[in-house]
């Protein structure tokens, strides 16, 4: 009887395990295996090169690490500014304000728009010659601020990061809002009775209870931003020079530009491992903060 029950249980998890194996684990192993070959993606023969692709990435490919740095910079901006904006707007919409639902809808529009469309629209807005932003800057008497936002190496990466934040803050907004709505209102009422002002309530009730939510948003922001590339390819193509190159663009360049499928797979594995490590660190951090 016990064996039958156990078998039944295994049978229930079998579809999920099969899907996981077929669509996640086997491809991962296969990609790792391909990473040990020199292969152009066309010829049926592959040359086994062992771990030399991995070694080349780790020790010689400066552009790869530059792209990691760029992605890290965009991620840092997203974690700080995108999430701060999302949190502030969620706080505003959590109050009893007029047209609350309208604002909730509006703030969630950017994330559901196509990244390519957003990229192209912002490219027009930021165009150095005829872009709306420069036209407005000139109109309001600040012509000295007008510049080639996407072609200037000083501004290209930050500009891309800002647009990425605009595109992505809606997700954080939604999660923060959901988190804020789970905080029992009685806590605020009790605090008010005890003489706490708005800042005290925020510091002692909202902030501690929102820490797990903030960590979840941070994890999602890191994973989403590190893997960003559609917006970048639409806005700058990774240029000028290597100033807006990100890891996924490098993987694409290896696969499409150089026809080095094996190398691209090795880059994918290394990038995946880096993301896993970052997520693990954040997870450990979130576990510790939950104890609070």
């Amino acid at each position: 009887m016990r064996i039958k029950e156990t078998l039944e249980n295994y049978l229930f998890v079998l579809p999920a395990v099969t899907i996981f194996l077929v669509f996640y684990l086997i491809p991962f192993i296969w990609v790792f295996q391909l990473g040990m070959y020199e292969w152009d993606g066309i010829l049926p023969t592959k040359i086994f090169v062992g771990l030399s692709n991995f070694k080349e990435i780790l020790t010689q490919d400066n552009i790869w690490w530059l792209s990691m740095w760029n992605a890290g910079y965009i991620t840092l901006i997203a974690i700080i500014f995108q999430n701060a904006l999302a949190f502030m707007l969620a706080m505003a919409c959590d109050r009893e304000i007029r047209m609350k639902n309208f604002f909730r809808l509006v703030f969630f529009i950017p994330p559901v728009l196509s990244e390519v469309v957003v990229g192209l629209v912002w490219q027009w807005i930021l165009d150095g010659n005829y872009g709306l932003l420069n036209v407005w800057l000139v109109k309001i008497g600040l012509p000295q601020l007008a510049k080639n936002w996407l072609s200037d190496p000083q501004t290209a990466l930050t500009t891309v990061a800002v647009v990425h934040c605009w595109k992505g803050f809606g997700w954080g907004f939604l999660i923060f809002l959901a988190g804020l709505q789970t905080i029992p209102r009685e806590l605020y009422e009790a605090a008010r009775v005890d003489g706490a002002n708005a800042w005290d309530s925020f510091r002692n009730i909202t902030m501690p209870l929102m820490v797990p939510v903030a960590i979840l948003v941070a994890i999602l922001t890191v994973l989403g931003t590190m893997q960003a590339f559609v917006l970048i390819i639409a806005m700058t193509g990774g240029g000028p020079a290597y100033h807006t190159q990100v890891p996924v663009l490098r993987i694409l360049a290896s696969m499409r530009g150089s026809s080095r499928f094996g190398y691209a797979c090795a880059q994918g594995i290394i990038f995946g491992l880096i993301l896993i490590i970052i997520s693990f660190v954040q997870y450990r951090f979130s576990k510790r903060s939950r104890q609070y």
């Binding site: 020199e38 993606g41 499409r256």
Partner: protein, 439 residues
């Protein structure tokens, strides 16, 4: 009456449904009609014309030809590679990529060698096509790719990548609308005038780096000649050679003179085409397909074709050109013969004239040139000055090409000097050469 399933049975059913999906996914392709030739391509602007030609061909022969369009070109490129891996390529297809990729397709047995068909009837088919267009699809006996010499593809049109200028704007700047600047000196002298007039100088899709590579190669041929360029690719001449530094300096001179449009380094070609078509830019570096594009954007645009202004007269100015689009026949297709017959018909004069008239691309058939527009004829005149990396017999390492292109972008944005870029490119070249020798 509702049927009740036990939990266990539900699990089995779910697994069975999942199994069915897998089995369906593994099913073989449906058997296609023997009289249907399937063609995969990426040319969105030519689909309507292809469909019309397919209709005419079916009327004539009873053989149905289906043109399946897959765009954008990047997605098409990946689809072809995936189909090659699963040995499910269509009867006819095109590939987008370098000669190295082309050679891999040939070596993997995906492409039919069509030399015997081309040479039949005293080379009638071969002789009616532009030799430069055919050369792109040809592997010579001394090719470095290890491919058996022969012809492996059929060009359906020709492309040249060169410069165009706006006649009206050039006149406004004090130039002769029928005589664009022929020397770099004259070209650069227009820079300050263009800046003062508030116009843009030269626009191009330099955000898609291959166009930078193209112009750099044009100037390399002009500065040092073909032999030295090929010697560089072979690793016999370093990129730090003074001639290469001179080539890189041309880009710095262009930037300093103001002849390059603002934001050129991240400009995609579509934006460049819009700026030129809307008469905001005086010059554009673009392919001959631009005739069709500009006509769509601004039918009244008056422009002319020109070669990039030369630096010296010691070596000729050479532009990239040759086959624009080519079709290849699947060597494993059961309809090889029908495919050959269709491509033979497609490159006949009548069909080529129709394609040239409707799509405004240069025809691959020499006899069809008599019926093309004046501006297309200007592009056609420069075919003799054209070359293409795919006919050089050797290819530069992609990493080196990327370093050169990105280096030129760095020069244009004032981040690096030509000498610095040359040094960096040479470093990567040496790394790639040593990797190659270790294999």
């Amino acid at each position: 009456m509702a049927v009740k399933f036990s939990g266990c049975l539900r699990g089995i059913l779910a697994f069975a449904v999942l199994g069915c999906f897998f089995l369906c996914g593994c099913a073989s392709r449906p058997v296609e009609n023997k009289n249907t030739v399937v063609i995969w391509h990426w040319m969105t602007d030519r689909q309507a014309a292809f469909e019309e030609l397919s209709r005419r061909y079916e009327e004539l022969t009873g053989v149905k030809v289906v043109f399946e369009l897959y765009a954008p070109s990047e997605a098409y490129s990946q689809k072809i590679r995936a189909a090659a891996q699963s040995v499910s390529l269509p009867d006819i297809f095109g590939i987008l990529g370098e000669k190295r990729d082309f050679s891999s397709f040939v070596k993997a047995g995906h492409i039919l060698e069509i030399t015997p068909y081309m040479l039949a009837d005293n080379g009638k088919w071969k002789n009616m096509l532009f030799s430069k267009a055919l050369a792109v699809n040809e592997f010579s006996s001394d090719n470095s790719y290890g491919v058996l010499p022969g012809i492996y593809g059929v060009p359906i049109d020709i492309t040249t990548i060169q410069m165009v200028y706006n006649k009206k704007l050039l006149k406004q700047l004090g130039g002769n609308p029928n005589k664009p600047p022929a020397t770099l000196e004259d070209f650069l002298a227009l820079g300050p005038k263009i800046k003062a007039s508030g116009l843009q100088g030269m626009v191009s899709g330099w955000g898609e780096v291959w166009m930078v590579d193209c112009l750099a190669n044009n100037y390399a041929f002009n500065v040092m000649g073909k032999d030295k360029v090929l010697a560089t690719i072979k690793g016999q001449v370093p990129y730090t050679d003074p001639d290469w530094i001179k080539v890189l300096e041309i880009f710095k001179q262009m930037q300093d003179s103001g002849i390059l449009a603002n934001g050129l380094v991240t400009m995609v070609n579509k934006n460049a085409e819009q700026l030129f078509a809307n008469e905001k830019a005086v010059f554009a570096f673009n392919g001959s397909w631009c005739v069709n594009v500009y006509k769509g954007m601004n039918p009244g645009l008056e422009f002319g074709a020109m070669l990039p202004p030369a630096v010296n007269s010691k070596y000729p100015m050479v532009i990239w050109g040759g086959a624009g689009s080519s079709f290849l026949i699947n060597a494993r297709s059961p309809r090889k013969e029908e495919a050959v017959k269709f491509l033979r018909w497609l490159t006949d004069r009548e069909q080529q004239v129709y394609l040239a008239e409707t799509t405004l691309n240069l025809p691959a058939n020499k006899d069809s040139l008599k019926k093309i527009s004046e501006i297309l004829a200007q592009f056609a005149d420069d075919i003799e000055s054209s070359t293409h990396p795919n006919i050089w017999g050797v290819s530069e390492f992609p990493a080196v090409v990327e370093a050169l292109d990105k280096g030129i972008q760095s020069i244009v944005i004032g981040e690096k000097t030509p000498a610095q870029v040359a040094e960096e490119v040479q470093k990567i070249k040496q790394r790639e050469l040593s990797k190659q020798s270790n294999r």
